[in-house]
Assembly symmetry: C2
């Protein structure tokens, strides 16, 4: 990405060029459901009480530059990641050792584990699990090298409610459409070209994953109609992302699904004597459906459990015969703590789950070093690095708990830790900062355009359907039935280090313009 | 439509059923571009200056009941109507006689005719014409009969800017989707069923018509890239309707198109020496396109011509070598006056254009009697009918000029005419009221639901590409190259005779639920 043209990317647009690009972008996005329900700050709920308004989803005007080798690396490694996390989810004994380090500092993880133990008491009745995963990366250049080459480093691995699979197909199609209609200036024709734009097949591929679980469930023992249940938040501004999966599931696979707000679980579902999960659609009270697959798009954050009853709801779903996407152990496998112990330098854990050395080393390459802040040897080393102003600048401090946000960056780390009682330090991990190449783009969000430095995160989707082993403590047992890479997402947000750029944290969906 | 179940259609919904139907309708519509830009009364332009908000298009919650025999009649007769209007448009001498009766009362028609004469002075250089027509009907029951049977009666025939072809495919797919997901109560399952819901293929079929003209135009003589030009109003709230045609034209037929606001015609187009129409996209000033086909979605109303320059623009387009959709003579063939002289009882005109008696009589069946208000024998008879309070109740008075609106109904006709100088009466025609069966439906519009009596209008699209004859005054010459029926639209509005029903004139797009 050294040539002059890349340095000037994206190009400045004349007013006429910008008008043409934006009007086409705004119309195409609504015509193709690349949309969100408007933020309350944009349209007050009182203005549209019945909710018929929608807005173009936050998108980039241009596909962001992305090294082709990194893109291919991310896609190629996804099946190994699927295998890795399926193996972790099957290894209850190992997960227990991880969770035990967290229960004192993370109530949410503790509650999830208790729910697992509760189910285990009566025994699990479903040995199939589905993962619709997303592995998130940034491009990293090792600035300590004189001629830094680029490689992918993992930011996090999502095992529950991985979002934007329904919109990422659309945004990659949008950028391709804009290319086709010459909305990108000719000066970029050697950069934004057909062979550089990658369509994401995430919508159809993730829907195919849900259908695979649905079909693997088998017929109803009592002849009931079958369905997939989308367990969702309510309200949900990102509803079209989910709807695209529902439509692809129905149209491409003939599978019926229903949306169930998580908080209404106990009102509309029940367990049969044999723990079949029964769903009674509120509009069809005389018809009951048997749920083959529970697809969680809610329940991943403590905020989803305001009442104790919500844990009862989760327990009921977990106890059921339905295939969970994800199971509670798979959910727990997505803890940052898991990522940390795998990525702690000289960790022995990776080879436990990926016995093939070649596969393991390819996965290892994508890890940024991560340290615990505990009393282990690595932890003591990390405490020194984190509390010293000069070394802390290479790191980010992340809470172990799920749900994102609340990261502490670089020089803000030492004062943050000094204010925090040391007993709470193990609730955080210390991760070497990924140093992405400087990039620019323009984002349209709530009708406002912002242009400036951006950071791109590549998310690679994976579908994995597996059968658990019959015993405990041995991750080697069990069987993988389906395993595929399922498209990609590029998420682009303002580079907070850049003054006057895109507001930090205000992300947009994006697609890759591959650079050889 | 006499059974009890039809009488109770559409069914009442429980709150749960309504919630399920509406949430699915609202999400599906945005996900599939069944949308409009919000009305200024709903979202003030200052709130969304860049225009990223959209709303579910006004739609009916249920497909409206429609007699299958009438539906099939409308579709079957469309090719004959295409042939009829292509023949009228080719018959300049006949059109001249019609226009001469209007020039004194309708400035707009006079201006259109002048424009035609201006082009004719130098000779037309394009002998191909494209029509994307829509013939609008209502179901009529002759209430003077003891057991009235239903037949179609034509409301009007649109030769320019026939709208909703892009949305009608979507609304018929929406109603089919709602059926598939059991959003309609079981009590209606003998009515709303797969075999009763007709998908409209209008989007792809109209786009194929534009592509047929584009291809018939032939290669550029100078090797320029070719395009279709959508001449549009700006702003356009119904933009997605048009965009769906653009996308189908590009994706299904590989044909590039551009949108040109009618008021900017002279800034971005020019005529070559051989009257090739050149379009310079403002965003691509170094690339000029040769226009094969001008698709007018503007220019049909006097409001589109606020400046004299707008007539210069229309003249420039008409003079060009591009195929017009429609040509100015085809535009004029859509005058209500034409409909009136064809439908005046015992009119000799129909057989002039449709020499096949069987075809002509099938078309004739769909005419409601229409009278002029002039000095002819039929006109004198009409003046009596229109001015007498008891007979006027069977009629509607319509202005001859294009653009819709301003109809005067039934008992309002005599006082209206008494206030109007008699010299202006010939500007109107008198049409026997069509008496549609009483129907009910619910409409979602701007987020508000209205339920009550409705009137449905069936629009049948037609595509016709023809070559004009070389001489004047003989409609028999020329040749039809393409002629097909191109899907349908149901438009449903409040029945104004019903108190507390859907507000009159507030229409919605709809689809047919056929009744045997």
């Amino acid at each position: 990405m050294a040539s002059v043209s890349y340095a000037n990317y994206p190009p400045e647009l004349s007013p006429q060029e910008e008008q043409y690009l934006l009007s086409n972008l705004k119309d195409w996005s609504i015509a193709h459901g690349l949309a969100v329900r408007p933020a309350p700050s944009f349209v007050q709920p009182s203005q549209d009480p019945s909710g018929v308004l929608a807005s173009t989803a936050p998108v980039t005007l241009f596909p962001s530059l992305f090294p082709r080798s990194c893109f291919e690396q991310g896609l190629a490694i996804q099946k190994a990641y699927n295998e890795l996390y399926a193996a972790i989810a099957r290894d209850e004994a190992w997960l227990k050792s991880i969770v035990e380090e967290l229960v004192d500092v993370d109530d949410f993880v503790a509650k999830l584990w208790q729910t697992h133990l509760e189910v285990k008491k009566d025994g699990y009745v479903q040995d199939l699990s589905l993962g619709l995963f997303r592995s998130d990366y940034m491009v990293h250049r090792d600035l300590s090298q004189p001629n830094p080459s680029s490689g992918l480093k993992q930011v996090e691995f999502n095992t529950i409610a991985s979002s934007f699979g329904g919109l990422s197909s659309q945004v990659s199609a949008l950028h391709k459409f804009l290319l086709t209609i010459d909305a990108y200036p000719k000066s970029t024709s050697s950069i934004i070209r057909d062979g550089a734009l990658e369509l994401s097949k995430s919508t159809s591929s993730l829907a195919k994953g849900l259908a695979a679980a649905h079909n693997a469930y088998g017929a109803s023992r009592t002849g009931r109609p079958l369905c997939v249940l989308f367990v969702v938040q309510d309200p949900e501004r990102n509803v079209f992302d989910q709807r695209h999966l529902e439509y692809a599931l129905l149209e491409g696979n003939g599978v019926r699904s229903f949306r169930l707000p998580f908080g209404e679980t106990l009102s509309h579902t029940q367990l049969d004597a044999d723990r079949t999960l029964i769903y009674t659609p509120p509009n069809l009270s005389s018809t009951v459906y048997e749920v083959t697959t529970i697809y969680f798009r809610a329940g991943y954050s403590p905020d989803d459990y305001p009442k104790e009853e919500d844990w009862t709801a989760r327990l009921q779903l977990e106890k059921s015969r339905a295939i969970k996407c994800p199971s509670i152990l798979t959910h727990l496998a997505g803890c940052k703590k898991v990522q940390q112990v795998l990525a702690t330098p000289h960790s022995p854990h990776l080879k436990r789950f990926l016995p093939d050395d070649k596969v393991a080393s390819r996965v290892l390459e994508t890890f940024a070093p991560i340290y615990p802040l505990d009393d282990s040897e690595a932890g003591r080393e990390a405490r020194k690095l984190a509390t010293h102003p000069s070394s802390a600048t290479k790191y980010v401090l992340k809470p172990q708990r799920e749900g994102g946000g609340n990261n502490v960056y670089r020089k803000a780390i030492p004062p943050f830790l000094h204010k925090l009682p040391e007993t709470q330090w193990p609730a955080y991990i210390l991760m070497e900062m990924i140093e992405p190449p400087p990039l620019q783009n323009a984002i349209l969000r709530n009708g406002e355009q912002q242009r400036g430095g951006v950071i791109c995160e590549l998310g690679v989707y994976g579908v994995c359907l597996w059968r658990d082993g019959s015993g405990d403590g041995d991750g080697k047992r069990g069987e993988i039935l389906e395993n595929w890479e399922a498209g990609y997402l590029l998420r682009t947000k303002g580079d907070q280090s850049e003054e006057g750029g895109v507001a930090a944290g205000f992300g947009a969906v994006d697609s890759c313009c591959l650079v050889d």
